[in-house]
């Protein structure tokens, strides 16, 4: 029997066609903004970083770690990508990973690919972009405070993705919300801890090796002040 590889990835058949189509539109819009922001901000020297970050996230997504009760989880990586390359370019990175998984590895659905890009990429990346930047302003500018924020936000990003998935499943009529939401949040509260540990470790390593490559660190401001306003004038760098 063919073992359906689900991972955290939604396969086809879980979402109604309306929900799936709407999320495709959202995903395409986010990727389009990601391409524009990259075109404005991504200098030649950082081109290889996008490739290597996508490769790293693909690799670590293969490393399922056990959590309680015969369940496993793996890194999503949206927070890591957002911290290193900014939220919109992170959407691009996550789309590269998820499209490859869907078409190359039959991991995650095709009609559900938009949903997977939104749930595992866009939501986490934008949340991380907003909260890490806000944390930078509110908290003391120390490496410890920065990494603390990154850890908490990593966990939150997983929970938001799990909640979004639950709502989409419920709206699609697949499973009632009061059944799926607590179950998804319960499991992902644990998986989110793994996400936080891996993300903090990876960001720490980059901070040691090349602190200037951490986009959401103190080095430079990420592009848009408000999510949804992609191309304002006046870039930093």
């Amino acid at each position: 029997m063919f073992d359906l590889p689900i991972a955290l990835h939604i396969p086809d058949g879980f979402l109604s066609s309306g929900v799936a189509a709407l999320l495709w539109v959202v995903a395409i819009a986010a990727v389009a903004i990601g391409l524009r922001v990259a075109n404005r901000d991504l200098d030649e020297a950082r081109v290889p970083l996008l490739g290597v970050l996508a490769a790293f996230i693909f690799a670590v997504q293969m490393l399922n770690f056990p959590v309680a009760g015969g369940t496993s989880g793996h890194l999503l990586g949206a927070t890591l990508a957002a911290v290193l390359l900014g939220p919109w370019v992170a959407c691009l990175v996550m789309a590269v990973v998820l499209v490859t998984q869907a078409f190359g590895f039959a991991d995650g659905g095709v009609s559900a690919l938009g949903a997977n890009i939104v749930n595992m990429g866009v939501l986490g990346a934008l949340l991380a972009g907003y909260l890490v930047t806000a944390g930078e302003k509110a908290l003391p500018k120390s490496r410890g405070a920065f990494l603390g924020v990154v850890g908490v936000v990593s966990w939150l990003a997983v929970m938001v993705g799990a909640a979004a998935t639950s709502f989409q499943l419920a709206i699609s009529g697949t499973v009632p919300l009061d059944t799926v939401l607590p179950a998804m949040l319960g499991v992902h509260a644990l998986i989110g801890i793994g996400e936080a540990v891996i993300t903090v470790a990876a960001v720490s390593a980059v901070l040691v090796a090349r602190p200037d490559l951490v986009a959401l660190g103190t080095r430079f401001e990420p592009a848009p002040a408000a999510p949804g306003a992609p191309a304002a004038a006046g870039s930093t760098s």
Partner: protein, 109 residues
């Protein structure tokens, strides 16, 4: 602290990614993960299906075809996948990158 070059950083990070995908992924947990477990318990797992396009996936379920040893098949799949994703990510970034000579608007088709 001396700062490593971008080239060295990228090579090092890529080596870590290749190593994890090739040598560590075969030993990852095979338990059903978050959504799969919930779908199983809440009885909607059977709704999941593959898209017809995915019948032709080159490396279905992270097992490189034609390799009997499961761990080796997973490791080879990881190796190929990481290099593929790196190439695509690099390629897209290269195509859309900022061209300083083009000025602010960056209008190119």
């Amino acid at each position: 602290m001396s700062r490593m070059s971008t080239r060295f950083f990228v090579i090092l990070a890529l080596a870590v990614a290749v190593g994890l995908a090739t040598a560590v992924s075969p030993y990852a947990s095979a338990n059903p993960d978050g959504l799969e477990k919930v779908a199983e318990k809440k009885q909607f797992l059977e709704d999941g299906k593959l898209h017809s396009i995915q019948d032709d996936s080159p490396i279905p379920d992270y097992a490189f075809p034609g390799i009997d040893n499961e761990r080796v098949a997973t490791g080879v799949a990881g190796f190929v996948g990481v290099l593929f994703v790196f190439t695509i990510g690099y390629g897209i970034a290269y195509l859309v990158r900022r061209r300083d000579s083009e000025g602010r608007s960056g209008a190119h088709a």
